[in-house]
Amino acid sequence: MKRLRIFLWGLVGLALFLFGLFAYQLTQPKDEFVESAMIGQPLPAFDLRPAIADRPGLSSADLADGNAKLVNIFASWCVPCRAEAPHLETLRMSGAEIVGIAIRDREEDVNRFLAVYGNPFTRIGADDISEVQLSLGSSGVPETFVVDGNGVITYQHIGDIRADDVAMILEKLREAGA
């Protein structure tokens, strides 16, 4: 009988632990984002052809030229990308150099998007089969990475950049050596 009681107390303990875990998780906001595990790692080697005629393509060598940059992963079919366009422009005017990777996009669609929402990019690479996106550990659009002058990823911002994110991104860029 003593064994039974011990076992029951064990069960009660397990139940309490589980309920505590459930209660805790209920208070946490549901985190749908998957963060990249490449923060702190050097960029994998890649070489993307130009997405539009007006801008050169993007390769990993371009991102290791000694200057910290922002890499913006976007697409013309991505709705939140439109919302973040003005803030990208603000970042560019504050001195940030922004390069873009267009995911699964046709040239005419990218041109149309940039004509309407502005073009803050110095370079745009075309990633037709999400290969570079996968190699960076990015799982959606839009996302923005801060890459330092040696080509090491230092920060990832998931989702569109809002007005209050601008200051923090500039700070991360400064930390990376811009």
């Binding site: 990249s36 595990a37 089969i129 999400s130």
Partner: protein, 141 residues
Amino acid sequence: MKRLIALLALVLAAPLAAQDSLPPAPYAYNQLEDPELERQAHDLMLTLRCLKCQSQSIADSDAPMAGDMRHQVRTRLAAGETPDQIRTWLIERYGDYVSYEPRVTATTWPLFVIPFVLLLIAGLIIRGRLTRKAPAQEGAE
């Protein structure tokens, strides 16, 4: 009227907004020539998570990113990488979340230890409840 609806169907069957218009990656929906490699690819894909879905493997999903991941799996296998190397490559990018096969790490060791503990407890309970001695009388059912 039915024909009008059917015609509308052709128009409406186009992809919906907020999806890309490029075709799927070459190996998203095509199998490898070598059946053994394709089997390995299939087994691996069943254990990799589609990151844009609620809870599906990349083998079970029509999402474009799942297709792109399938393309990566197949092309890398064809190029000579092993399934474990491909899985590691993805984990390096997305963390353990992307793999349905948990590794033994500092955070997951209970997953592997607790089944052994359960085995032990099961053994103890069975040993405590069963005895080799024949019963005093043999009863019919």
